[in-house]
């Protein structure tokens, strides 16, 4: 070996020439060679003391024959701890170091072999993962392209179907409206007749003296006309019901009086106080609906008095419908007759168009969803070679003393107590979170359930080379910040060239 000062590596030996002056390696200063390793720091870069602890910034080189050479901080020279396996860092006799480089070397080689085997096995799987990942990406890409193409067609198809639908719906609508209008007119007619009949009957019932006129006294005997519910029907109330006529003949009654009393009217003998009130309320509810809806205004106190809020409005509306339906059922036994054949065929044509449109629309939506899924997949980062895509949509569990942890890759991480209890979300997929020069070493799942007095839970998943995909540990190094270790072939690196003996690189 080349003679060289303590703590200097072979490659640096030439800078330390006995007899010559020593120039600090940073070139700043020059000293007698005796200043090298004299346990006093002269050079600003510490290079005059490679073998002592004199310089704060020095490095000590241990050869570690049988193991691997190492540079240690010169502050670890002669500090009473054997840092180099060859023990050369502790030369002042304060402590006896055993040279265990051979054992360490052996262990290291064994470990290196183990790691190599693991790496090799893992790497084969990784290649497979890469292949599958790439294939998957290709497939998805192709699929996406196809879908995007077909999407254009589907959009066109949908537009066409929509046009057709609209085209078919116009005559259908006209025909239906015509039919319905005819029917409605008929219904109105029938209704008017029926009403007229009811008026006549009522007139006969009210006309107790049979003089074909109804006068105030005939009105006053009926409590249903007691508008202010004071127990008697006053002249005014009676007059009001008679629309200011002292007496009403049938025509006046039918046209003016009846429309106003028909809803409260009960055949004499069937009326009672309760019924009367119910009827009044019902009447109020239905008739008040129209002005109130039209004049609806949040700021209008008057309306607010009647209708506290939207829900009441809806209730009122609902009741209205029921009321109408009721009367319809009672009074209108007839149903609208079927559409005529011509209309029916128009409807059939429109139905067909509608169905086709719905189908086309669904197809388009389907495709759009698929495209979104594919884009999301392709937008995700599965590693430089898609080697991590294999993890997507898979979940991995790990159970320790207290909890079962679950990592669903690219989705979320959870924790569930073993003795029962609810699941806690520790984090949702966030991002790759390795160091800047090794981004794919870790993933972060963030914004999990909030912690009392602390941050939202989060998980950092550290990837390590292994032959299987599995969580190997879960811990909470800081309150509500979790750490998982995850073994996966995808983290394995290519085994080094076997011909090289430089095991340094492997570690």
């Amino acid at each position: 070996t080349v003679p060289r000062p303590r703590g200097v590596s072979i490659s640096m030996a030439s800078y330390y020439q006995p007899g010559a002056k020593f120039r600090c390696l940073d070139g700043t200063k020059e000293y007698p060679f005796e200043y090298v390793n004299d346990d006093y720091c002269d050079c600003p870069d510490g290079s005059d003391e490679p073998g002592t602890s004199a310089c704060q910034n020095g490095k000590f080189h241990c050869t570690n024959a049988g193991y691997r050479p190492t540079n240690i901080l010169s502050s670890r020279v002669n500090d009473g701890i054997c840092d180099c396996c060859d023990g050369t860092d502790e030369w002042d006799g304060n402590i006896e170091c055993v040279n265990n480089c051979k054992e360490l070397g052996k262990k290291m080689r064994e470990e290196a072999d183990r790691v190599r085997l693991l790496q090799e096995a893992g790497y084969q799987k990784k290649l497979q993962n890469i292949k599958e990942g790439k294939q998957m990406r290709e497939e998805k890409k192709v699929e996406l392209e196809e879908l995007q193409k077909s999407k254009v067609d589907l959009e066109a198809s949908k537009d066409e179907m929509e046009a057709r639908k609209n085209e078919a719906e116009t005559p259908e609508k006209e025909a239906k409206e015509k039919h319905e209008q005819a029917w409605n007119e008929l219904v109105e007619l029938k209704k008017a007749e029926k009403e007229k009949l009811r008026a006549e009957i009522a007139f006969a019932e009210l006309d107790t003296n049979g003089d074909s006129k109804i006068d105030v006294s005939e009105i006053k005997v009926h409590s249903m006309f007691d508008v202010d519910s004071n127990g008697e029907v006053s002249d005014e109330e009676a007059l009001e019901h008679l629309e200011e006529a002292l007496e009403a003949d049938l025509e006046h009654f039918t046209l003016k009086v009846w429309p106003n009393i028909k809803d409260v009217y009960k055949a004499p003998g069937t009326e009672s106080k309760g019924d009367n009130q119910d009827d009044v309320e019902e009447n109020k509810a239905s008739s008040s609906d129209i002005p109130e809806v039209e004049g609806y205004d949040d700021d209008d106190d008057y309306i607010d008095d009647d209708d506290d809020d939207d829900i009441d409005d809806e209730d009122d509306g609902y009741m209205d419908e029921e009321v109408k339906e009721d009367t319809g059922n009672n009074e209108e036994e007839d149903k609208m007759p079927d559409y005529d054949d011509e209309t029916k065929s128009l409807i059939a044509i429109a139905d067909e168009a509608r169905q086709q449109f719905t189908e086309a629309d669904n197809n388009l939506r389907d495709t759009e969803n698929k495209i979104r899924d594919l884009e999301s997949y392709l937008g995700n980062d599965y590693g430089p070679e898609d080697e991590y895509s294999i993890l997507k949509d898979n979940c991995y569990e790990y159970t320790d003393r207290e909890y079962t942890y679950k990592l669903c890759a690219y989705s979320r991480a959870t924790q569930r107590p073993k003795n029962g209890g609810s699941e806690t979300t520790l984090g949702n997929w966030g991002r790759w979170d390795g160091p800047s020069d090794d981004k794919y070493a870790a993933q972060r799942y963030e914004n999990g359930q909030g912690c009392w007095n602390g941050p939202n839970r989060s998980v950092k998943v550290h990837f390590k080379c292994g032959t299987e995909n599995r969580v190997t540990s879960a811990s909470e190094p800081s309150r509500c910040e979790y750490a998982f270790d995850f073994e996966t072939p995808s983290r394995c690196t290519a085994p080094p060239n076997r011909s090289s003996d430089d095991i340094h690189d492997e570690l």
Binding site: D38, D39, Y40, D42, S53, A54, Q56, L73, S75, R76, N78, D79, G80, I81, N94, R401, C451, N453, G454, P455, S475, E476, P477, S478, R479, E481
Partner: protein
């Protein structure tokens, strides 16, 4: 803080009674004929309360070292009043010295010792301590003496309403306590004295204090004529110079666990030391109120009573100027009045006088004053291993890694969580292999679980604190239902100490040390989060009598346990949260659960100055703040401050983010690392200062006025301080600050920036740049500071390393410094195995010599470098002279710009006398 959890003076019956007293109407007179003199050093006189005819016994003694003692007890109490046993707060029986009766009249007596006079006046009773014809301390000048004698309860004719006044709204709770206090209820009064509120029972929130012995409080005023500033009575989160309490509550001394304590506030905290110093340009005096019961202290500014003082000969030096005076009013719930008056005249003298009474801080093992890494919690062995490894990876020194409560099996102290720490010995050994130590927490509350051996044993031995009914006291703390050993009992302390034997504390090793937390004690469901006052300790005394001592007893027992473990060979290390006068003898304390906020960083200075002034010199604040998450800037500044405080530990609450130095942003990490390295480089200075502290009682961390007593600018200064006499420290405690105004004391002093050697003249205030990387620290011209500049992983790996001596010259180009060296861990120094060296630089000659011929030890430590700063002329020759050796020429480098001379490698062993002649 939740203030409603803690009493105000108004809610504390005795405080309210004392505070309501009006000055100038004292009923107490001294019966001059009752005089007795003992051993020519103690005078006894009776004091009569003319309102109720109760007699008190006054004892006035002269003590060695310019100290006097005044004790007042009941002459004939119906029940023995509690007195703190000698040896507990007091280190031993104070040494008496001769005192003469100089003059006696009908109305007064004048005693003399050393150059002091003690004037006792009969009517009204007062005592004046006079030095050089100036009164410097006066007692009962305002007539606030109030001594509540023990009295019998008269059986009430019928049950009356429960407590009156502010307690009346708590009837419901009181009724839960059952009918017993119905019998105790006593509104009958002795004929002479009126009954006042809260005398026979008291209720706070839903806590009832049964007060079976009735009123027992004592109080008196102490005045400091001529003094505008008083200091001490820690622990409070307040300014160093104490404030007048005219518009606030009095300062309160009552050991309490105060959650998220408030700043600038006289509320009680975890520790209590009833010691006060008063300082003016001419002198420093102090008093020690030797009482461990709840104590309140009012402070007010006044002018001296010239009418009275002028009766004393030559009292006022001519002039009609008013003499400022600070009045203090001391009120304790129980015990006796026992005041030590320390007459200085210098601050160093008062430190020494107080140290003679309560002892000094034992020299800590070197690791104790190094950097400590703590967190609630390092979770398991793997976690400990990783933290340890990361410090090495980032090349940051640390000495001790701590385990908080989670390391135990269900908060059963002395046990381990078997899952997380299956092999604690191996873990400790791995840490110890790098010269490091570990600390585990051992709190005084014991989980009430018969399967927990320590609890079972304490229970079976009847060692527990009892409640008022005589049953084992049961309260809530970390483990849930808990009981507390009665540490006031020496037998219990001896029992506790054995728990630390390696055979008893399974999984411990000699490298494991101890942390006593929650020893106020903290009782989660107790009144004010502590013991009920009527719990019973040894000899039937109540917690009321000595509450403030309980925590110190825990600390003492623990410290004795570590001594027992090493057969008195190794210095113990124990950290305690509660403390009292004398705690310095047993371990370190810290300022409790502070917050990660700038205000808490800033307050750490006055808090520590105050605690240090009161003798507990091994003290620090949690670096980073316990609660909350400090940002990187605050954490960095806190490390810089902590690196120059006596006890240097980072700690964090379990809910905070991890914040170890190595996970900080790189810039901050590097700065924090530099701060820690600075701490390690100054360990020789710290160690020397702690040695001087053990021998002289002086604190390493001092206010400026201790060294510059006549400089009025320094009297209220508490944002900068001195380490010893050589370093001036002004940490940055404000967010975003990149510079600070530094006051450089001493008209003729020179101060040098320790990093750049930039020179500043004394007697002025200068703005100094302090970017984030800068800690404003300055070395005094005229001082020599020993440092070790080699960076090791822990302090014990530095023990053979060489010294660099930093010689900063004064205007006369001379300097002086000290270095103390021993084995850094054992008690062998007490057998003479140490070196105490003195370095001088004068007339171009550097000398190193022993200043203590009793000390000798062989060490490998040597001197690698001497840096002389402020040398105006480059020498032409440097010759090393060692006795018996040829003179040796040394090399040097000189910078005329910095006036800095670096003497290269004297290479002399530190034990060797030598000189270096420059010519």
């Amino acid at each position: 803080v939740s203030r409603e959890n803690f009493k105000t003076c108004d809610q504390s019956g005795f405080c309210k009674r004392h505070r309501a007293m009006q000055p100038g109407s004292s009923p107490y007179v001294v019966l001059m004929d009752s005089i007795k003199i003992f051993e020519s050093s103690t005078v006894e006189l009776q004091i009569l309360n003319t309102k109720n005819n109760v007699r008190l016994l006054l004892q006035v003694s002269a003590l060695k070292d310019n100290t006097a003692r005044v004790k007042i007890n009941e002459l004939d109490p119906i029940k023995k009043r509690y007195e703190i046993p000698v040896g507990d707060a007091l280190v031993g029986e104070p040494k008496l010295q001769n005192m003469k009766v100089l003059e006696r009249t009908d109305g007064s007596i004048t005693l003399g010792f050393e150059d002091n006079k003690i004037l006792i006046t009969s009517k009204p009773f007062r005592i004046d301590f006079i030095n050089n014809d100036e009164a410097v301390v006066s007692i009962n000048t305002q007539g606030l003496l109030k001594f509540e004698h023990y009295r019998k309860k008269e059986t009430p004719p019928a049950q009356e309403e429960t407590a009156d006044g502010q307690e009346s709204d708590t009837n419901n709770e009181e009724q839960q306590e059952g009918g017993d206090e119905a019998g105790e209820e006593n509104k009958e009064e002795t004929p002479q004295e009126e009954e006042e509120s809260g005398m026979w029972e008291e209720t706070f929130k839903n806590f009832h204090d049964s007060k079976p012995f009735g009123p027992s409080s004592v109080g008196m005023d102490v005045s400091f004529p001529g003094f505008e500033h008083v200091y001490g009575i820690p622990q409070h989160a307040d300014s160093f110079a104490l404030k007048t309490t005219k518009s606030t509550d009095p300062y309160r001394l009552f050991n309490l666990d105060v959650f998220e304590y408030e700043l600038y506030n006289p509320m009680a905290l975890y520790g209590s030391i009833p010691v006060m110093m008063a300082h003016n340009e001419k002198r420093t005096v102090g008093i020690f109120w030797h009482n461990a019961a709840e104590t309140w202290i009012d402070i007010s500014s006044n002018t001296a009573d010239k009418n009275f003082l002028s009766k004393m000969a030559d009292l006022v030096n001519g002039g009609s100027n008013e003499i400022p005076q600070t009045d203090t009013h001391w009120m304790s719930e129980s015990g006796v009045i026992d005041i030590f008056i320390m007459l200085g005249p210098s601050a160093h003298d008062v430190y020494y006088q107080y140290a003679q009474l309560t002892g000094t801080t034992n020299l800590p093992p070197l690791f104790g004053i190094s950097y400590h890494q703590c967190r609630w919690n390092y979770n398991d062995q793997e976690d400990v291993k990783n933290v340890d490894a990361n410090f090495d990876l980032y090349d940051i020194p640390y000495d001790v890694i701590w385990l908080d409560i989670e390391h135990t099996d269900g908060k059963r102290y002395f046990t381990w969580d078997g899952e997380k720490f299956p092999n604690s010995e191996e873990m400790i050994n791995n840490v110890a292999a790098k010269g490091r130590k570990m600390v585990t927490i051992v709190d005084p509350h014991l989980k009430r679980d018969d399967n927990f051996a320590v609890y079972k044993e304490a229970k079976d031995l009847d060692h527990m604190v009892k409640n008022k009914d005589g049953n084992e006291y049961d309260g809530w703390c970390w483990p849930g239902s808990s009981s507390w050993p009665d540490f006031t009992n020496p037998e219990v302390r001896r029992w506790w100490a054995t728990k630390f034997l390696l055979d008893n504390y399974k999984g411990s090793t000699p490298a494991l040390f101890t942390w006593n937390d929650m020893n106020e004690p903290s009782v989660f469901n107790g009144p004010e989060i502590t013991f009920h006052k009527d719990v019973i300790h040894m000899d039937g005394f109540e917690n009321r009598d000595m509450h403030n001592l309980y925590g110190q007893y825990v600390l003492q027992a623990t410290s004795e346990g570590l001594l027992l473990r090493s057969e008195n060979k190794e210095r113990p290390f124990v950290l305690s949260r509660a403390f009292f006068a004398g705690s310095q003898r047993y371990g370190a304390i810290w300022t409790g659960d502070n917050m990660g906020e700038w205000g808490h960083l800033k307050i750490s200075l006055p808090m520590l100055l105050s605690i240090n002034l009161a003798g507990v010199t091994f003290s620090g604040a949690d670096v980073g703040g316990f609660f909350k998450n400090p940002d990187a800037e605050l954490l960095t500044r806190w490390y810089q401050a902590g690196a120059f405080q006596p006890f240097f530990r980072a700690h964090a609450h379990i809910d905070t983010k991890r914040r170890e130095p190595y996970i900080q942003p790189e810039e901050n990490m590097k700065i924090i690392r530099q701060a820690i390295i600075a701490r390690y480089s100054y360990l020789p200075l710290w160690y020397t200062l702690f040695y001087e502290g053990e021998t002289k009682g002086i604190a390493p961390m001092r206010p400026l006025w201790v060294e510059y007593p006549a400089d009025k600018n320094t009297f209220t200064m508490d944002d900068e301080y001195l380490l010893g006499t050589s370093l001036l420290v002004k940490p940055i405690t404000e967010q975003g600050q990149t510079g600070t105004q530094v006051y450089f004391p001493g008209q003729n002093e020179l101060w040098y920036d320790v990093e750049t050697f930039k020179l500043y003249n004394g007697g002025q205030s200068v703005y100094v740049d302090a970017p984030l990387s800068k800690i404003p620290v300055f070395q005094r011209g005229g001082s020599i500071v020993p440092r070790k500049l080699r960076i090791r992983r822990s302090s014990s790996l530095m023990v053979h390393d060489p010294f660099t001596l930093i010689v900063c010259l004064d205007k006369k180009e001379s300097a002086k410094g000290n270095l103390y060296v021993d084995d850094y861990h054992s008690f062998n120094y007490r057998r003479g195995e140490y070196l105490h060296r003195e370095f001088t630089f004068d007339q171009n000659e550097f000398r190193s010599q022993s200043v203590d011929v009793h000390g000798n030890i062989s060490t490998k430590e040597w001197i690698e470098k001497i840096i002389v700063v402020g040398l105006n002329k480059e020498p032409s020759k440097a010759v090393l002279n060692v006795k018996g050796k040829e003179p040796q020429i040394l090399q040097w480098e000189y910078s005329s710009y910095d006036k800095e001379l670096i003497i290269r490698k004297p290479g002399v062993n530190i034990a060797t006398d030598f000189s270096i002649q420059l010519s």
